[in-house]
Amino acid sequence: MRLPPRPQERIDRSRELTFFFEGEPRHGFPGDTVGSALFASGRRVFSRSFKYHRPRGLLCCSGQCPNCLMQVDGVPNVRVCTMPLREGARVRGQNVLGSLDRDVMSVVDKIGGPFTPVGFYYRTMIRPRRAWPLYERFLRNVAGLGKIDRGAGRTRRFDTEHRRVEVLVIGGGRAGIEAARAAAARGEQVVLVDEGLGPGERAAGGSFEVIAPARALGIYEGGLVPVDAGQVLIRFRARRIVVATGAIEQPLVFPGNDLVGVMLPGAVRRLTDEWSLRPGSRAVVIGADERALSVVAELRSAGTEIARVVDLRAESPRRIAAEGKKGRLASVLVDGEGLDCDLLVMSGGRQPAYSLLAQAGARIEYDAGRGVFVPIELPASVEAVGAVAGELPSGATPAATYEGGGKARGKCFVCVCEDVTTKDVRRAIAEGFDSIELAKRYTTVTMGPCQGRLCQLPSVRLYARENGTDEAAIGRTTARPPWAPVSLGLLAGRGHEPARRTSIHERHVQLGARMMWTGAWRRVHSYGDPAGEVRAVHEAVGAIDVSTLGKILVSGPDAAAFLERLYPNRFGDLRPGRIRYSVLGTDAGRIMDDGTIARLDDDRFYVTTTSTGADVVSEWLEWWNAVWGMGVEVVNLTGALAAVNVAGPRARELLGRLTDLDVSNESFSYLDAKQAHVAGVPCLLLRIGFVGELGYELHCSSPYGEYLWSTLLERGADLGLRPFGLEAQRVLRLEKQHILVGQDTDSESNALEAGMPWVVKFDKDEFVGKWALEHVRERGLRERLVGFEMTGWTVPPEGGQIVVDGRPAGRVTSARWSGELRRAIGLAWVPAALAEEDAELAIRVDGRLEQARVRLRPFLDPDGERLRS
């Protein structure tokens, strides 16, 4: 089937490649594409159309149109006309029920029915409602192209690469190569990307880099150009972008314009020149420019007989129609003159491929003289060269839409991707879709795989004619990335999610911990027995990894003044070695975080934050530091330090075994901070009690966290020490009514209504949030965060409703079963009037109302005797 060797051919006839089509072996040469090799093997039908399942053959043969989409090695929607042939490639047709040659679904083309006109899915399948699942199943089956290989995720890999380049040239045609050479000659670093096989190393001559096949997907702000290079998405940051995407031959619109055997001139040229194939035996050529008509010579050299040449510049036929047999071109009618042929080369002129330029911000205008849209007013640092810049032969006659007339009633396609005909467009216009943007969404013209390359201009021409106006008035639709279809996998990349792990993480895993996410942190939910873990803390001693706590060093001569100004609580009078709790508020008076602050010495404070708040608080502190410009340094030490909270009545005994420090209650009291070696590791020890029992937080350099943890567990085993997780901690802190910011508070909560008026020092001159809290104090409290205990045994759901007079009036924020109290307890926001000890609450649980009583003081150890013991 090949012609004798030709001068420009790309194929290497000395070697043969074998591949498989529908399981049958086929042959080709190196230099072939899958498409050219299939064409050489005699295949003419390459796909079935989207809606009508009409047979389609090679149309553009340059990776623009949807006509050669196939499954190659399990990958759907591969344009085989540009896919280099590989030994052993497995190729299959897609979007068929049966085979490409006998597709059962092609019955749709014959009978049509309600499921083919434009916008049918807006009008049909509405009733009966109970049939929706059926409709959905039907639509899922017929919609879309290709089949995703569900196992591919495990075998295919996509990477992302970042490149910086001085000049990025998009397009490897003559203009692109010239621009690349010129830039390289100026000493600039140049990369050229090309959708096809590229200009080859010879053209580059080593002066610039060529990446091909590689598709530029868009031009984004800051010179960002993502390029699809197959398995790698290259994110180029280019100082200058040269767009040399050329121009795209436009199909003519006439009945039967989608038949197999109707081709664009470029396809003919490539088939003959590059792969030495004869595109047909007898041809009609209809074109509007020199470039199109020049294929006549090429066809003759390939031995194709020329039946007729119609130069649209010289003659203006009123009727053109193609007729076929079984979907393949058999004859062409030009103004009634019938011409038998198996090839029709058509061209309605060339449209500059301006999409990337439009995305970059160029203005696009209709050039009535040449009948195409051209880019003008390019943004800085973007250039256009060659045909895309409008360097086209001038004076090309704008091609129109042709009626078949007479017997020729075949479908007349404006958009081959989505199977939209001129009839559909007229219908949309008749229904009132007069704006091109709205009509696009209704008809889906330009929304298919070609993204408007072959249908934007013809559809604009049709709209103009149907609306009795001109193309300039109709305008064009907005160009958006991606300009070329792209695999979602390529955009997703490797999909790693950064995770933070404490230095003790491996030990938890060894202990069989159930891990959970808290923000980006991996934390221990429990070691399998939360209730037992709670019991250990109450009765003996427990240890929890709290390395995730935010830890911030605030140092400098103004450190005390800075914290005094930032936090509602007082820190100026805090003595070195002492600790104080505070919430952290915004200027709106809201609680954004909470934690303890230890004064290490005159100029240094150790600020802790919640685990998820560490970064936010650190940025917040840095921000106020930048605003106020005080003599303060804020150093985020969160990851630098591991921290373990050792809590329980036997915590002191355990600590005494590990340190020389006097741990007696007299010399190391509640809310004291000390530095000492524990198990030989220098630690900052904070005596605080989030979980309500005697407890010490040990903070040490992260690389020793694991050693400290293991040593604690080892030396505490005989005291009944158990490691505990977040679930146990949640119960323990709830028994003390200690709030969890973000759980018990939200972005509306303030310290007064959250029941912590003691933390707000109104007598300070100023602090962030003071004004707002003063206004809250003056208007009076509207709601309150209070503790409650259930009368019955039910634990209400978190988020459950508090009901007053049958109406929702508050909500449960935390609720747990306390084994220690043998009661269900919780925290809830209630109307201020209900914030009285013993007030009765009704809580909605599964539709029923359950009774609870307000408890304003901690459920356990209300006077903090255990904490201070």
Partner: protein
């Protein structure tokens, strides 16, 4: 105690039945790595807030300016204490970040391009490597990354995976 001893990794005491073990955050994560990837986590690292313009206390320490008021010093592990002392000055905040930052050395510009969009010809710099804030240094084809230690395993996974994709 004026020094923040609990931040330093070189102030542990062995004795009384205790033998503190320094464990690199990358210890497990790099088990499967080839010879081109090295763990630098044990290097001495000291961050200084304040002016270090005229500082010449420890010639062997490497100096990486992060902002005009913030500088990172790198030194051999055994020199860390000397570096801290030399830097100590009432006008500066000196923080030992040896334990805070994990360190990773790897080879190949191409590998780095898969991990970061930093300008590899404009190093050292701080930027996103595998979406983690990282200080990146370069000597020829050798790159050194310093990043928060809690991301060590996550980072090692990404780096080894990217290397496998080349």
């Amino acid at each position: 105690m004026s020094e923040l001893e609990f931040l330093s990794t070189d102030r542990t005491r062995t004795g009384g039945g205790f033998e503190p073990v320094f464990r690199s955050p990358l210890a497990d994560a790099l088990a499967a790595a080839g010879p081109d990837v090295r763990d630098l986590s044990a290097l001495g690292k000291v961050e200084v807030r304040g002016d270090v313009e005229g500082f010449d206390g420890l010639a062997s320490a490497e100096r990486i300016p992060l902002t005009p008021g913030r500088t990172l010093f790198l030194c051999a592990p055994e020199e860390t204490a000397r570096l801290r002392e030399a830097l100590a000055d009432p006008s500066r905040t000196v923080v030992d970040v040896t334990g805070a930052l994990a360190g990773l050395e790897l080879r190949g510009e191409r590998l780095l391009r898969r991990l970061t969009d930093l300008d590899l010809d404009g190093l050292p710099a701080v930027g996103a490597v595998a979406r983690v804030t990282t200080i990146v240094l370069r000597t020829g084809e050798e790159f050194r990354l310093f990043f928060p230690q809690e991301y060590a395993r996550s980072m090692a996974e990404v780096v080894l995976d990217a290397a496998a994709g080349l």
